[in-house]
């Protein structure tokens, strides 16, 4: 599968100096739009960069269009919370595209506190020949106007304009970890550590609280919301995951406040793997509905799991992402890596799942063949159009050539954010400040 992918890399060099990575350049989210034509990334500096797929070129008929920078804008600025005397980071936590309604594209971007709706429009024509205004828009001297003319649209260089349409502020006391647009295309929800709010896309001054797990006494707090998503087809259903490893499916038809879940998905703890870190590593860092809406994909620290909406007792599939780290949990706790929030993604047909790991590795699991592969996203190993080689992490004494030992993994190079094109085998991988886009070789065996 993945080993036959053609590789290409787009990095943000137009903005950034690669010799040293500044914190602001670290990519914090990656998201394809619904057609896959556009790809948006957000970074810790509050910027959003949108890539657009170029039309197929005549010179290389077999190659599909590459993604080039389409637009860049500053979505969020650092702020200061004067009541708490704390900085509010500008880091973009999530980006979600709205279904396209007209020629314009829209997306939601959020930092810890504030969600913004952006409209991205193209302009390639401009009107010329006004009667009362000249080319610069200044009023003409009326004495010079001797005849009436009809203004005409003339072509001009393509301009991409990004404008803020709505700012949804003051809805969250805690840090927003997820936003999700509803299938009704009118509402969306935003989840922070303790609450989930439902917003109408057109209304910024009020939201409805649909989940609130804040205990009356914060000292009793033992669990937080880690991620949340709407069902892709049923606008009344949504799921949220918790730091204790459970998933709660809620039905908004049942009550206005969905504190009582409809279904609780939870796997009993395996006593043989019990350790001090059991709870931390079971904390769900991401949850994604399959495109079909039948399954849910969750990522915890060591595994990725597929759940059937019809079976609550345990996941139907569990894949080990990097089980060799199980013996290193104490060190990973000490250096805080154990709190890394890896995301996960489905391919377009829900047959392959993908998630990130350390050392710039990412993993793919074929659900049908049960094959899995580890690939590496790095500047050194991936020249444009090169084919990715599978990587192996060796655990025991036997070490084959090109294997990398567990002890030499670089834990500062982590792939937390990945995205899969909604229909094709194109994946976007965020590795610190680099964005890698890989695609299937033509006629590949990916499926």
């Amino acid at each position: 599968m993945g080993e036959d992918t053609d590789t290409r890399k787009i990095n943000h060099s137009f903005l950034r100096d690669h010799s040293y990575v500044t914190e602001a350049d670290i990519i914090s989210t990656v998201e394809f739009n619904h057609t896959g034509e556009l790809l948006a990334t957000g970074d810790k500096g509050g910027r959003v960069v949108i890539f657009q797929r170029e039309p197929e070129s005549k010179n290389a008929p077999h190659s599909q269009g590459e993604y080039d920078v389409y637009s860049t804008f500053q979505s969020h600025e650092p702020e200061f919370d004067y009541l708490k005397s704390l900085e509010i980071e500008e880091k973009i936590n999530k980006i979600k595209w709205l279904p396209q309604q007209n020629a314009a594209h829209s997306l939601l971007s959020t930092n810890d506190k504030t969600i913004k709706l952006w409209k991205i429009t193209e302009r390639d024509k401009r009107p010329e020949g006004y009667n009362l205004k000249d080319e610069e828009g200044k009023l003409k001297d009326l004495s010079t106007v001797t005849s009436l003319q009809v203004p005409v649209l003339k072509p001009m260089d393509l301009m991409v304009e990004v404008s803020p349409r709505r700012v949804f502020a003051n809805g969250h006391t805690y840090h927003i970890n997820s936003i999700s647009v509803n299938s009704d295309c009118e509402t969306y929800m935003s989840a922070d550590d303790l609450r989930i709010n439902l917003w109408h896309l057109a209304i910024t001054d009020r939201s409805f609280n649909i989940v609130d797990i804040k205990p009356a006494n914060m000292e009793d707090l033992t669990e937080v919301i880690t991620a949340s998503e709407f069902h892709p087809h049923h606008c009344n259903l949504f799921v949220y995951s918790s730091s204790k490893g459970s998933l709660r499916l809620c039905d908004m038809r049942a009550a206005a406040l969905c504190d009582k879940h409809s279904k609780l998905f939870e796997e009993p703890e395996d006593p043989s793997n019990r350790s001090f870190f059991s709870e931390i590593i079971s904390s769900v860092s991401d949850v994604k509905f399959s495109h079909s809406g039948r399954y849910m994909l969750t990522r915890d620290y060591l595994t990725v799991k597929v759940w059937d909406l019809n079976m609550e007792a345990r996941p139907i599939e569990t894949y080990q992402v990097h089980d060799y780290l199980r013996s290193k949990l104490c060190s990973l706790y000490e250096n805080d890596c154990i709190f890394d929030k890896f995301e996960c993604a489905w391919n377009g047909s829900d047959s392959v799942i993908m998630t990130g790991a350390y050392n710039n590795f990412f993993r793919m699991f074929d659900r049908n063949t049960k094959r899995d592969v580890t690939l590496e996203a790095s500047r050194e190993s991936s020249k444009p159009r090169a084919v990715l080689k599978p990587r192996r992490v060796c655990v025991g004494g036997k070490r084959r050539r090109d294997d990398i030992s567990v002890d030499s993994l670089d834990f500062t190079k982590k792939i937390l954010h990945t995205a899969w094109h909604p229909a094709e085998n194109i994946i976007a991988i965020a590795a610190t400040n680099n964005l890698y886009i890989f695609q299937d070789k033509v006629n590949s065996d990916m499926h």
């Binding site: 810890d112 006391t173 914060m218 709870e279």
Partner: protein, 354 residues
């Protein structure tokens, strides 16, 4: 405060003296590079953690750690220390991740629960004492203690029922814990002294010996009463005089009726503090001399972060008692994060071993 009362954790409390004991001597003063939260623990507390970190890092829990009890308790202790570090070592400018805080808290609670259960079956203290403590004289002395205190203590918690022996041994620590707020905040109505030995200045050895002498001059009745009040924190006298009765103190600390005792402490103790010792002029001088240096030590650290400056003249035991009020003040950076304060509260109780 209610939180800390709810968790009078025998296991942890009983073992904290070991931590404190082995941390006090020979730890060079640190530069105030740590965020304000650390300092609220008192500098002794801070040193303690550092030392453990330093000592244990490297040999932390290799995967080969078998099921052996020693490695398990070592790992537990390491994790416990790391957890404490994490809770108070975040960047002060941005709000810490609630998820992380909650997970770390759960970890601490779990370890506490475990220690508590072990403590109810047998003294958890010796087993869970980190090997690093062995290098230290005080640590080892407390490790030798188990045989003595594994015997059920004869109801040491009852006020007025304390042994005379204990009585004449504790005042030193009592005074030491006592003086900072008496002199610096001049609040005679200071609440119960729950100060951990962690607060004691490093030069306490000479100080406590001086106090020993003074103690002989003091009326026995007062010192007895003080000692009784001081009973549950007898362990806190990590200095010379406290050593023999430490085991008892530990046992007491671990007793479930501890919270009640704490509640009954303040008034009782108040009298001894204000009338008994502090009217003594000679003592005043000595205390002043010593306090000055310790406060000097303490001040720069706390005043480094603006909010702490108003607390700086207050000893940590005062903080322990007054945290709740502080939390309502808008100046505290972590104020909206009520969690922080209550947890701090809780941690302090753990440290104090009250």
């Amino acid at each position: 405060m209610p939180f800390s009362r709810e968790l009078p954790n025998p296991g942890i409390e009983s073992r904290s003296p070991a931590l404190q004991a082995d941390s006090l001597p020979s730890e060079p003063p640190r530069k105030p590079v740590y965020p304000f939260g650390r300092y609220m623990l008192g500098k002794g507390g801070k040193r303690k953690f550092d030392e453990h970190e330093d000592g244990l890092e490297g040999k932390i829990v290799s995967p080969s750690d078998g099921p052996s009890k020693v490695s398990y308790t070592l790992q537990r202790q390491t994790i416990f220390n790391i957890s404490l570090m994490k809770l108070y070592n975040h960047r002060p400018l941005t709000e810490p991740s609630l998820q992380k805080t909650v997970l770390i808290n759960n970890m601490l609670r779990r370890i506490q629960e475990e220690l508590k259960q072990e403590g109810s079956l047998r003294p958890a203290f010796p087993a869970s004492a980190p090997p690093a403590a062995a290098a230290d004289p005080l640590g080892s002395s407390s490790r030798e203690a188990p045989p003595a205190f594994s015997q059920p203590a004869p109801a040491p918690c009852e006020l007025g029922g304390a042994a005379a022996l204990e009585a004449c041994l504790t005042p030193a620590s009592l005074l030491e814990d006592d003086d900072p707020d008496t002199f610096c905040t001049s609040s005679p109505a200071a609440p119960a002294r729950l100060a951990p030995p962690a607060l004691l200045p490093p030069e306490k050895d000479s100080f406590s010996s001086a106090l020993d002498e003074i103690e002989e001059l003091c009326p026995t009745s007062t010192s007895t009463e003080a000692a009784e009040a001081d009973g549950p924190k007898g362990d806190s006298s990590s200095g010379g005089p406290g050593a023999p009765q430490r085991p008892e103190g530990l046992q007491e600390g671990g007793r479930p009726e501890d919270p009640k005792l704490m509640d009954s402490l303040p008034g009782n103790f108040e009298i001894t503090a204000s009338t008994g010792f502090l009217t003594d002029l000679t003592l005043d001088d000595i205390l002043f001399a010593d306090i000055d240096t310790s406060m000097y030590d303490f001040d720069p650290c706390t005043s480094a972060s603006g909010t702490a400056s108003k607390m700086s003249p207050v000893s940590a035991d005062d903080l322990l008692k007054t945290l709740a009020p502080y939390s309502s003040q808008p100046v505290a950076p972590s104020q909206p994060f009520k969690m922080d304060l209550t947890e701090l509260d809780h941690i302090m109780e753990v440290l104090v071993g009250s």
